[in-house]
């Protein structure tokens, strides 16, 4: 196939109408928050936990996309090159997550028991070498510094190639991706311990970091699917064909199974051992968040597993995007379940206006930033050496 045969992507213009819609969505989120704080006067821990939850979700979408891009680059795979700019732009939102985290900082005392240094029990005392504010903050800053650096640097390499293609482009892209993956492999786990696992300060699970990572990855893929489908639908990227969707669908399918695999690995081992220091985590969730506990499994595993099993399902844009939306919500729930029982407790946790409304604000912020970045570069990296391969392939 020749380059000419690939439908050209139209340089994207971030229109006013879209901005307005995003504004409205953001407003809905803000109102939900204000309602929660001032009118409903919800417990402080619930407010803070929701801010924390949404900040994490916001971060995960970008971080997952960055991982997706880099890992595909390293695997010398090519199909994703057509939609690479979507992932690049998603990755660029990472530094803005800092803002959302920092907003929630005043509530850290509500979230993390280990911050109450004045009365730590025996087990938490043993952990103070790791779980202490200064070190935690150092790690916080380092994670973001590293991720941001790589997101922007990789983007820079990629965009530069549009104008001045170099022979060593691929090599540079790959080696940088390699470094990122190494760093990500470590930081994805440690950040999950820092920001999520330490909410249930007594509990521990070696798998936890990977489990959170898999959920983040799936959520991120859902968003990539949604954006791809939308861009194709609105002719922003007509170069996206059903093969790309098929592959994205396969990823969603495969990694939903992978997520379930890790979920069950963690649950089964803890269930089997039945040691209180571990089971406490699940007992809390099974007993007091019973519905969500099962909804989580259903929405994140059973549903995509059954819905995406056929070939057709993965190639049908509308069908695929419905599944992606459900899975995205599913992983929001998953994260909710990771945070709320420990941070808020079942007496106070609930799903109300706040929980439903607030994400709109973050989603709007995410899309806004994403679109701003997306606008700044060509929608497809035409000079990528594998670009043609990316359009000329077929799923068996």
């Amino acid at each position: 196939m020749e380059k000419q045969n690939i439908p050209d992507a139209v340089p994207f213009k971030f229109g006013k109408k879209l901005k307005t819609w995003l504004g409205i969505a953001a407003a809905v989120g803000l109102i939900a928050l204000l309602w929660g704080v001032f009118i409903a006067q919800l417990p402080a821990s619930r407010i803070w936990a929701n801010l924390w939850l949404n900040a994490l979700m916001f971060l995960f979408l970008g971080l997952g996309a960055l991982f997706f891009w880099t890992v595909n680059t390293l695997g010398e795979s090519t199909w994703q090159i057509n939609i690479q700019r979507i992932m690049e732009s998603m990755g660029l939102t990472i530094p803005f997550a800092i803002l959302f985290f920092v907003i929630a900082f005043p509530g850290l005392k509500h979230l993390f028991e280990w911050t109450h240094t004045e009365h730590l029990d025996e087990i938490l005392q043993k952990k103070t070498a790791y779980l202490n504010m200064p070190f935690w903050l150092i790690r916080f800053v380092s994670y973001f510094a590293l991720w941001t650096f790589f997101a922007f640097y990789l983007r820079k390499i990629s965009v530069k190639n549009d104008f001045e293609p170099r022979d060593n482009f691929l090599k540079k892209l790959r080696s940088t991706s390699g470094w990122f993956i190494v760093i990500f492999a470590i930081t994805s786990s440690t950040s999950a311990w820092d920001w999520l696992m330490s909410i249930d300060g007594h509990w521990f699970s070696t798998l936890y970091g990977w489990y959170i990572f898999s959920g983040m990855f799936v959520a991120s893929i859902s968003v990539i699917i949604l954006i791809s489908v939308a861009f194709k639908r609105f002719n922003i990227m007509p170069n996206i064909n059903s093969e790309h969707l098929h592959d994205l669908g396969k990823y969603l399918f495969g990694f939903s199974i992978f997520w379930a695999y890790l979920w069950i690995s963690q649950y089964l081992l803890i269930w089997y051992g039945n040691i209180p220091e571990e089971t406490i985590y699940y007992v809390e969730r099974v007993d007091n968040f019973n519905t969500l506990f099962y909804v989580n499994m259903t929405v994140n595993f059973l549903f995509p597993f059954l819905a995406l099993m056929t070939r057709g399902a993965k190639r049908q844009p509308l069908y695929l995007s419905v599944i992606a939306i459900v899975v995205l919500i599913g992983h929001y729930i998953d994260l909710y379940l990771a945070i709320m029982p420990g941070a808020v407790g079942h007496e106070q946790a609930a799903i109300g206006l706040l929980e439903i409304g607030l994400p709109f604000f973050y989603l709007a912020a995410f899309l806004l930033l994403f679109l701003v970045f997306f606008e700044k570069a060509k929608p497809v990296p035409e000079n990528h050496p594998y670009f043609i391969e990316s359009s000329d392939y077929e799923n068996i």
Binding site: L124, F204, T206, Y208, W210, Y261, S265, E277, I388
Partner: protein, 464 residues
């Protein structure tokens, strides 16, 4: 034809036509084996027989002929089991998961890797059998109807193992053999003697290369790959459950399933490399199994090796983080206790040495890769040894702490499985095509350094 970017490294070196490919790959099957082959097979068979004799000895006199004891109930036997099963992960990973990920370089190595998988799983399967105190009653493990109406314990990871290993062996065999059918057809048609033709026709199930068959074959391969991919994950996951479901510190940890899988692929690829680097030379297949292939495999090694490394460190950290004194002690003991040497061998071989592969020069250096691949499998063996032995030898009650030292019986049995493995492998390379012919041909046009298409003759019609 799908487009292949010119910047990609060719998968087949040299100037090849389809005929050349057939000739090259079938050559070892057609040729008379050399002296070296007979020597190799002979040594392997002798070692295998010694191993079998020792298995007989064990069954006769009891597990007491081994060094295991009241504290360390599993020693080399289960270490070897997990090690072999781990090695048996590469083949199916290559043919299933790399197929799903459309990694074309798999085509040159998947056949041999799958064969290796099957042989390794056979070696692995021996150990859970012979480690039983009462092997003759081993059939109790099957849920067959009996007069007592007693079934098996579906809670037991060892039972899951029975299902997992059997399924894995059977499905791998199916996958491998289904892939072999067309190639066996090719061999059949290259054979001169009638009986050989008959045998290979029997083996090839009467393959004739019909388009419809190819279509079904491809469709089946894809679905089999789809089934085999989670199966690969499940097998070592379930093997990891053998340990992780217990309450023994060092065993009971949730990261085990993915970490075992990754370690398995790690060691499996190392074994593939060990074998392939020799085989490509011995069977003159350098142009098919290229340095590029080696590099690709090395990349997987560094990825999985690093995952394993991170898992080690995660375990270590989490043992400290848990604040549970037993956990903390178990890991302290691993790193500093009487078996620390094993731990550090493991760390060196599995975590540190693969990091050298970040250098492209080393990734493409065959001698280095060969040595490294052996190091890795030594390291991976020690990983299992560390898990099995150091976790058990000092668990909860210090009163029961003990040490473990294998006896020569255990050593001989382990060596015997090498004998079995290589015996089968030696036979395999002379009987079956070592490279997936049809698959290589299907990528030859796009991925050979220079593809030689035959000139198309115009309109020649002869009547019979």
């Amino acid at each position: 034809m799908m487009h292949v970017s010119p910047v990609r490294e060719p998968l087949i070196n040299g100037e090849k036509s389809y005929k050349d490919i057939t000739k090259d790959v079938v050559a070892p099957v057609r040729a008379k084996p050399g002296k070296l082959w007979f020597v190799g097979l002979g040594i392997s068979a002798i070692v295998m027989l010694i191993g079998f004799a020792m298995i007989g000895y064990t069954i006769w006199f009891g597990i007491g002929t081994w060094g295991v004891n009241r504290t360390i109930g599993w020693g080399w036997s289960i270490t070897n089991f997990v090690w072999w099963v781990g090695i048996g992960h590469a083949g199916t990973f290559i043919s299933a998961i790399l197929l799903l990920f459309r990694q074309k370089w798999r085509t040159s190595i998947n056949r041999a890797a799958e064969a290796m998988t099957i042989f390794a799983v056979m070696c692995a399967g021996l150990f859970p059998l012979i480690h039983m105190g009462r092997l003759p009653l081993g059939f109790f493990i099957l849920p067959y109807p009996n007069t007592r109406e007693l079934w098996v314990n579906f809670n037991s990871p060892l039972l899951w193992d029975v299902f997992a290993i059997t399924t894995y062996l059977l499905v791998s065999l199916l996958f491998w053999y289904m892939g072999l059918i067309p190639d066996l057809g090719t061999i059949r048609d290259r054979m001169k003697t009638l009986w050989k033709k008959k045998v290979y026709n029997f083996l090839s199930f009467g393959w004739k290369g019909s388009a419809r068959h190819w279509q079904r074959h491809e469709s089946m391969s894809l679905i089999l790959a789809g089934l085999a991919a989670p199966l690969v994950l499940s097998v070592h996951t379930i093997v990891s459950f053998d340990f992780a479901t217990s309450v023994i510190p060092g065993w009971h940890t949730t990261i085990f399933p993915p970490y075992f899988v990754s370690g398995a692929i790690f060691s499996g690829f190392a074994m593939v490399l060990t074998l392939m680097i020799v085989t490509r030379r011995a069977l003159n297949l350098k142009e098919y199994i290229t340095v590029g292939h080696v590099e690709s495999m090395n990349k997987i090694i560094i990825a999985t090796g690093s995952i394993v490394g991170i898992a080690y460190i995660t375990e270590l950290f989490m043992a400290w983080y848990s604040g549970v004194e037993y956990e903390r002690y178990a890991f302290m003991n691993r790193a500093l206790g009487p078996y620390a040497w094993a731990y550090w061998i493991m760390m060196t071989c599995n975590v540190i040495s693969p990091q050298l592969l970040w250098f492209k020069k080393l990734r493409r250096n065959l001698a280095f890769t060969f040595v490294l691949s052996i190091f890795i499998n030594i390291g991976m063996w020690f990983e299992r040894f560390v898990i099995v032995v150091t976790s058990l030898h000092r668990d909860y009650l210090p009163s029961s702490w003990a040490m473990y030292k294998p006896t020569w019986v255990e050593v001989a049995i382990y060596m015997g499985t090498f004998g079995l493995f290589f015996t089968l492998f030696f036979i395999f390379i002379r009987v079956f095509p070592v490279i997936a012919l049809a698959e290589v041909k299907s990528v030859a046009r796009s991925s050979a350094r220079k593809f030689l298409g035959k000139p198309i003759k115009k309109q020649s019609s002869e009547k019979q």
